[in-house]
Symmetry: C2
DNA sequence: GTATTATTGTTAATAAAATGACATATCCGC
DNA sequence: GCGGATATGTCATTTTATTAACAATAATAC
């Protein structure tokens, strides 16, 4: 790992810190020590301190961390203070469900929904009209789109993703059950629900195998 | 790590192997070496071999791995050969989207959908009537339910999860943006979409900060 | 103000994961 | 069948991640 680069394991933990700090903030907690936070979160205090110190010293010896300040700083680290314009491609059940989700609070602003299927023509979700996919190129030339949420089937996903990259898209939140294999400078975050279920299946078997199942 | 126990990192990789092998199988590929698979998957051959050898020797020197056999064996390891009965609690957009998903092929059979909101009374999704949450206890006494998919808001999620555990549920697929803190013998798999987006946001900033944004 | 306690930031030690190396076994062409 | 090529399974090494230790610093009580 190059010096100054932060490991992915650390990044993956940040949102959870952010969430806990947000809850503390709501509960009116003003300060917290790494020790107490570690007990609530069931991680080691050492890990919290080391994770945070990748980004700078946010605490004070003998005092701990100011909840509001730390919450805000982690938010900045995660880039939640910047608004990203997002579109959803794929207006099926999952796409529509995500469209109804409120991602504004983590800085994502939904400005369009697209699908290839004409049956969605005229349909709106959350006040946003579903547009036909062949109008996407025009749309992209008129609007700055930072992130594409991809909720299309596996088959079209890969080609579509490459097309999006050609059109200048730099970040994809991918729900299609496939790897996209895009160039290095494009951010891809996969959400593979199938695979999540499979690991649950594994764990379930591992923990409960051999137990009676009387029916 | 206790001897004989498999690390979570290995388990998380298994579904991806399974997916690639499934595709190879569909394409009529009969055998594959760790080297070739590693090139396709962009991981090291060493990792593939070591991961697989946690569970036994599935390959043959000088030959490689039989695709169909390995695919099936990984499926068994993941427990995909066993059918799990699943219910969804929370019939909002996400719950309904998941209900429409086809998880049968990874061994999950949806047998019920529940919600507390009377507006869902009489509504069906994929032929399954949404039932009122207060009938859940009766339902559980009449049906063997292995896994609960939890797509309810944060607030009720924790108490509901504890209640489910009291009723004998041993595995929860949790989409609520909170930790459930259940006893050790309950399997919990979290899908925190917010947090996924936050890490995307981080990466986006990290990769594209400083770039001009002329509008 | 001073002593005591609390708690960080950081370095050191340990543990875990990933990679590399290689001996051994199997295949395949001839 | 023999020999070279192939590719596994496993052990050794390296790298990465986590945990522990502690010196330095700030807060708090008196």
């Amino acid at each position: 790992m190059r010096k100054g680069e932060i490991s992915k394991a650390v990044i993956r933990r940040l949102p959870r810190y952010y969430r806990y700090l947000g809850e503390l903030l709501q509960n009116g907690v003003v300060r917290i020590s790494s020790k107490e936070l570690s007990e609530r979160m069931k991680v080691t205090a050492s890990q919290i301190r080391q994770d945070l110190n990748n980004f700078g010293g946010f605490g004070q010896q003998g005092y701990g961390y100011n909840v509001e300040y730390l919450h805000e700083e982690i938010g900045k680290i995660l880039g939640l203070d910047v608004t990203h314009n997002m579109i959803i491609i794929g207006a099926g059940n999952l796409g529509q469900a995500l469209a109804n989700y409120n991602f504004e609070k983590v800085g994502f602003h939904l400005i369009g929904i697209f699908d290839i299927n004409p049956r969605f023509e005229g349909v709106s979700v959350r006040g946003i009209a579903i547009q036909m996919l062949d109008t996407l190129e025009d749309f992209l030339s008129e609007h700055k789109v930072d992130v594409v949420t991809l909720t299309v089937p596996k088959r079209p996903a890969v080609d579509l993703a490459h097309h999006l990259v050609d059109l200048g898209i730099k970040a994809i939140w991918n729900f299609a059950p496939t790897d996209l294999n895009l160039s290095e400078d494009v951010c891809v975050k996969n959400v593979h629900l199938n695979e999540s279920l499979m690991t649950l299946s594994y764990e379930y078997r591992a923990k409960h195998s051999g137990e009676a199942r009387d029916e």
